[in-house]
Symmetry: C2
Subunit: 362 residues, 2 copies
């Protein structure tokens, strides 16, 4: 039996949506942002530091400087909050102007606790910016047709602008055919092959960009980190992060290389990068020696590792060895608090974009 | 007014279609193939030479060896002929078994001489393997609707398995909307974003792969050149060659880097490659110094350059400086006679695949 929850919330902040602060020059001065607790930034006052992205070589600066140096922390939590505020403002403006509120439908099948948590977080995030969230919860033993029926209903429902099927689905269901049933106009996850194809092609525009890679690029933009002409290495080639991240970076004129499980010399290739996106799901895989001095690191991995000091018995770490990377990189996302918070923010952004497009609202 | 030509030819060779000779080991011994006239292979007897793909470094072999060395010529003309023979055999087998002949419809608009030549070549190639070719020739001042009407007719026609709109179209027509009108089941060019999306995604299969990049990979396969784990640099990121070639190489587990007009150090990156695909349209751009000793080069460029010795006043050269490359690479495609002949062979292959799929013929 399906349960449905419908909620509507709105806020009224006034800042405008996405005032991009992309600066194309290589030498940038970063604004001071709040620093996560595992930052080592105290060694050098951040507000007075300039750094060059991609201008260094593996031999410079000398080791003594590298040991002293400390990466700027790219604070995803802060940026995600900023974006949610902007979305909130846009949702209000839209509601006021044309009496339309963006709506996101989430379909959850079964009783996986982690999935239930993700869905709850998405619902809360929707509420926080005034987007309607509509949740369908189907039992584990539902038929594929039941899911397809709900998708079909949401496809036709003009109050729904985004449809998200929480993965993984129970094993008796065909994930691909269920995901393909979501109309491309409401594919806010951006995983439809037609969207991916348009993302890959020059001169074509995808309707939606997958949320996590979109969040990675947004962090670079917001921190004024130039992409054009930079050497970018993407570690991992998954459909949901690595591959679309590479396509996005190439769209912005980076020179991309994609490192994966069959790459023979990942360390050597990664060390060529001005920008590293690590999305491979292996705790601390990228060591300090893999990183060119001055590189910018976006760490998508969230890996639990044993930690006797923690009351939970574990802590979360990224794919990049944070402490080592901090000494070499010019900027880095922490885990948690880096890319993670950006994913849901981008889901909200995609839902807003969809609603604006459906109603031709600028 | 449209003119229509319908032809059917068949042959009866007996070899089977695509008996891939892909060898995954890095050290390969190449079979002796006929050598184009600009080969410098006479210096070292080819039939006794072994070479290692991707095992060399920029410092080995020493210059004295490199000067003596001479690349194996990858003979696209020969391979394309081999493939046409295989297709011809399969077309006969299909006709005999289920009385179905694959059909390719080509739409040509206007009077461009080069386009007319391309269409004529495609028609001849179809005839040579027994594929039906159906040609529509519309005048330059046709309306977009006229073209769309023919496409719609071919979409519905069960005797047509591939539809190809010859580009460029007259400027008053919207190329994108015309190409999008071709049903994905008959998109033998493989340019539909849905096909490109599936090509990019792991676990998805495109219905068709674009002909020229497919031809590049086929040459590597037929020459037993391993791709898995190799470093591949693709120069150029066009929708029709560079980008899909990169996606194809990645599907075969190469580690890809894409060099383009905004790349700051193309020479340095290209020199890291075990396999180079050059598709940028600049005569002789890739010099000998760009090439790692032992690399394999697939040159997609076909550029006319002045040549007073030629009766035509020009000759065709690739994107790679052939004479210089021959001294460094282990294998290289000539221009002409390399990738060029493969494109039409792959178009025939896609048309056959489409017909087989439509009739569930194995």
């Amino acid at each position: 039996m399906a349960s449905m929850v419908f909620s509507e919330c709105s806020t009224s902040t006034t800042s405008r949506f996405f005032p991009m602060s992309l600066r194309k020059d290589a030498v940038v001065l970063l604004r001071r942002l709040s620093l996560p607790r595992h930052s080592c930034a105290s060694k050098v006052p951040l507000s007075f530091r300039a750094f060059t992205v991609g201008a260094s070589t593996p031999t410079s600066p000398p080791p003594s400087v590298a040991i002293e140096a400390c990466a700027k922390v790219i604070d995803g939590k802060y940026v995600a909050k900023q974006i949610r505020d902007e979305i909130s403002s846009e949702v209000s403006r839209m509601k006021e102007a044309i009496r339309v509120v963006p709506g996101l439908a989430v379909i959850l099948v079964g009783d996986r606790k982690d999935s239930a948590t993700y869905v709850r977080n998405k619902k809360k995030a929707c509420e926080s910016v005034g987007i309607n969230s509509l949740e369908v919860h189907l039992p584990e033993d539902s038929k594929e047709e039941d899911v397809l029926e709900f998708i079909s209903g949401f496809n036709d429902d003009p109050s729904v602008h985004g449809i998200l099927v929480q993965l993984p689905l129970p094993s008796h269901m065909n994930e691909q055919s269920i995901l393909n049933a979501v109309t491309i106009e409401k594919d806010v996850d951006g995983f439809h092959p037609l969207n991916i194809g348009r993302l890959a092609m020059r001169g074509r525009e995808p309707l939606f960009v997958p949320c996590t890679p979109k969040g990675c690029i947004e962090l670079l933009h917001r921190y004024g980190i130039g992409i054009k002409g930079k050497r970018a290495v993407i570690i991992g080639r998954s459909n949901i992060v690595g591959m679309p991240a590479a396509l996005l970076l190439q769209r912005e004129d980076a020179t991309i290389s994609i490192v994966h499980s069959r790459t023979q010399n990942p360390e050597e290739i990664t060390r060529e990068a001005d920008i590293i996106i690590a999305a491979v799901g292996q705790a601390n895989m990228v060591r300090g020696t893999w990183i060119k001095p001055g590189a910018v690191i976006i760490d998508v991995g969230i890996n639990p590792v044993e930690d006797s000091k923690s009351s939970r018995g574990y802590k979360l770490v990224g794919d990049v060895h944070y402490e080592e990377a901090c000494k070499v990189a010019s900027a880095i996302t922490p885990v948690p608090g880096g890319v993670g918070p950006m994913t849901i923010a981008m889901l909200l952004s995609n839902t807003l974009t969809s609603a604006k497009r459906a109603h031709n609202f600028q």
